[in-house]
Symmetry: C2
Subunit: 415 residues, 2 copies
Amino acid sequence: MYQSKLFYKTLKKAPKSVEAVSSALLTRAGFIDQAGAGSYSFLPLGLKVLKKIENIIREEMIAIEGQEILMPALTPKENWQKTGRWESFDVLFKLKGNNKKEYALAPTHEEIISPLAKKIILSYKDLPFYLFQIQTKFRDELRVKSGLLRTREFLMKDLYSFHTNQRDLENYYKKVTKAYLNIFKRCGIKTYKTLASGGSFSKYSHEYQTIAESGEDIIYICNNCQLAINREIKSGVRKCPDCNQSKFDKKKAVEVGNMFQLGDKYSLPFELKFQDKESKEKSVIMGCYGIGLGRLMAAVVENSHDNKGIIWPKEVSPFQVHLIQIGDNRKVKQSAQKVYKDLQNKGVEVLYDDRADKAPGEKFAEADLIGIPIRLVVSEKTLKNNCVEIKKREKTKVELVKINRISRKICCQKS
Amino acid sequence: MYQSKLFYKTLKKAPKSVEAVSSALLTRAGFIDQAGAGSYSFLPLGLKVLKKIENIIREEMIAIEGQEILMPALTPKENWQKTGRWESFDVLFKLKGNNKKEYALAPTHEEIISPLAKKIILSYKDLPFYLFQIQTKFRDELRVKSGLLRTREFLMKDLYSFHTNQRDLENYYKKVTKAYLNIFKRCGIKTYKTLASGGSFSKYSHEYQTIAESGEDIIYICNNCQLAINREIKSGVRKCPDCNQSKFDKKKAVEVGNMFQLGDKYSLPFELKFQDKESKEKSVIMGCYGIGLGRLMAAVVENSHDNKGIIWPKEVSPFQVHLIQIGDNRKVKQSAQKVYKDLQNKGVEVLYDDRADKAPGEKFAEADLIGIPIRLVVSEKTLKNNCVEIKKREKTKVELVKINRISRKICCQKS
C-alpha cells in the first residue's frame, strides 16, 4: 500500500475524551476514530488489525470443531422475557419499531441460539456440537471512558457448546481453554487465567485477564502458580485454590476472554431437550465462551507500546514491513519501488511511505507511532553501498543489507 | 466437511411466514433460519455462501482502489438532525439509552462518513479517495414477507467516493459500474442496468435489477438495448433514453445494487470542504454505491433453482463438490474417504455425506435441495469398475470416472 494513498491522519495529541493509553495511541496513529460516546470507526489500518485478530480466532475455533454461523442483533422481546433478562439485564438496549413491536439489541446470544438449537436437536446422536459467530454486540454501558476497552457496540466472538452431560461439557471446556491460550499467544499478549463468579452452575467462571494500566478490573495473581483471582470474589478466596499459597500481587487488568458453564440455565426456559439412548427426555447442557475483538486489539496495545507509539506483535500488525523512502531523486525512487515490488511478490505486506513532501524526521516519527515491526529505509546514503537500512521497531540498532538480499532476509525472519 | 457433523436440518416444507421462493428454498435446505419477523440467522451452509459473496465484493472494491473501513451501527441523533433525516427517513430505527441519550441504528452511513472524512480532508491533494465497508444495516421496514429480499437487519456493502469535481465523480462512477457487473457475473446472475429516480444531483440514479418471481420491483426492459426503467419513473419515460426505441418488456425484479451521485448533498450540512489549487474553499463532491449481501444471495437462488432445489453457481456455492457414500461396507467407506482426502488435498471444498443411517433416495433428494454444482457417488456398484459416478446438479446425465482420475477431472473443471 502506498502511504500517500492511505486514508489516515496522525495526531500529535488524542482528543481529551479518549482516556485509555491504548485508544489514545490508536487514535493518534490513525487506526480508529471516535464516532460517538462509546462507539468507534475502524479506519483502514485499524480494520486490518481487527481482521487479523478475527482470522486468528476463526482458525482456533475451527480447530476445536466450531461451526461458524451469524445471528441477528435485532431480536424479539419475547425471547428475553422467557429468561427474565428483558427486565434483569441492566445494559440491554431496548427499542420499539414502527409497528409497535419491541426488540432488544442482543448483548449476547443465549436467547437466540437456544431456540435455534431446539429446531435441530432431537436425539443424543445430534450432540455434542459447537457453534460460534463473530458478530456485533450492543451494551448500554453507563461509563465509556476507556476507549475500545469499553464501548456500547463491539465485535465479539461468541462460542456456544451443547452437550448431553456435564462431563462432556467439562472436556470441551478444557479444549476451549487451550484454544484461548493459542489465540492470546498469537496476538502477542500474556494472559492470566482468572477465577471469577460462576453463577449457579459452577463454583467459578474463568476469565482471561491481561495486565493493563488502563484496565478497569483488579486481579490478584498467585505468586506461586500464577493463577489469578478477580477482585469481585477475592474476599471469599484467601488461599489460592490451585496451590494453597496465600501471597498475591494486585494488578490492574483487562478481561480479554471469558468462559461460563451454563448447565441447563437456558435449555430449561427454551425447552431445549434431547432423547437419550433409553429414549428418555433430558435437558441439553450448555457452555458459552466470549472474546471481544476490539478490546483484544486495545489490550495488545496496552501491553506493547513505548513513548514513541505502538509496537505491533508480528501476527496482528497491519503490515509486516514499513518501507520508507527518503529523498525523491530517480535512483532512490526506483530502488524503493524495486524493494516494494520484490517484497510484495514474495507475499510480504508492505506499507510504502512514498511521500515526497514529508521530512525524514516526520516520516520516522510516524513509523514509530504506527508501530509496524520492521522498518526499511532507502535513501541516497544507504544506496551508496547498494543497501537498505533495516531496523526492528523495538530496537535502536540499525543494519545495512544489500538491496538484492533484503526480501530473502525478511522472508526468513517471517517463518 | 462431514455431513454427519454439519449443523443443519432440511425441511419438507418451509414455514408459512417465509413467502419468497428463494427464502423458502434456503430455509428448507438448512442455509438460513428465521429468528424473528424480518430477521434471519445464517447457518453454517448459508454463512459459507454469504462469505463467498463478501469476498467477491471485497476483491472488486479493492480493484477500484476502495479502502475498507468499519463504522458503527449505533449513531448519535445529532448527526441525523444535521441532515434532517432524523425526521424524514421513514425506516429509521430510533432508540434511547440509559443515559437518555438518543441514537439511530444506521440504515446507511452518509451521516457518519461525512464528518469522518472532514477530519482527514484538507486540500485537493487529499482527493479523490474511496471508502467502503461490509457492515450490518437496520431498516424498520413495515412489510417483511419476502424473506431475505427484505429484512429489518442486513449486511450491506456501502462504498462512498469523494471528489474535487463532478467530472471526477462521473469517471469513478463508470469504474464502479464495471466492478458491479463483475460482481454480479461472478455471482452467476444476469442483471439489468436500470434507471431510477435520481434525487437532486443527477437526472437518474442507477439500479442493478435481476428478474425474480418474488421481486417487489417492476422494471421495463428496452427490447432493443436492454436498458431497464424502474416503474417509479416509467410514466415520465416514454422512449428509451439510450436508444430512443419504445418497446419494453414488463418484469418483476429484485434490486441487487444501486449507485447515486450525491453531489454536495451531505458535504454541505457537514461542511466537508477542501482547498483547491488556488487555495479557494470548495465543497467535496460525493457518490455512494450499495449492494445488499443477503438480498444478493436470495437473488441468486431466485435466478437459479428448479423444482428439486437450489442450483448454486460455482463461485458462490458453499462447497464445490458433494460426495455421497452409498452403503457402509469397508471398501465403500475406504474409497469414499480416499476421494474425500484427495480432493481436500487439492484444495477442493467437499461436503462428504458419510451418514450410514440414511437411504440413498433421501441422500440424493437432500443433495438436489442443497444444490452443490458437482455430485459424486461412491457405491458398491460404482466400485465394481473402480469408478466414481459424477453428475452436474443441473444435468441428468451421469458419468463414471476411474477413482484415481477423479480429483484431476474436478480440478480441471474448476479452472
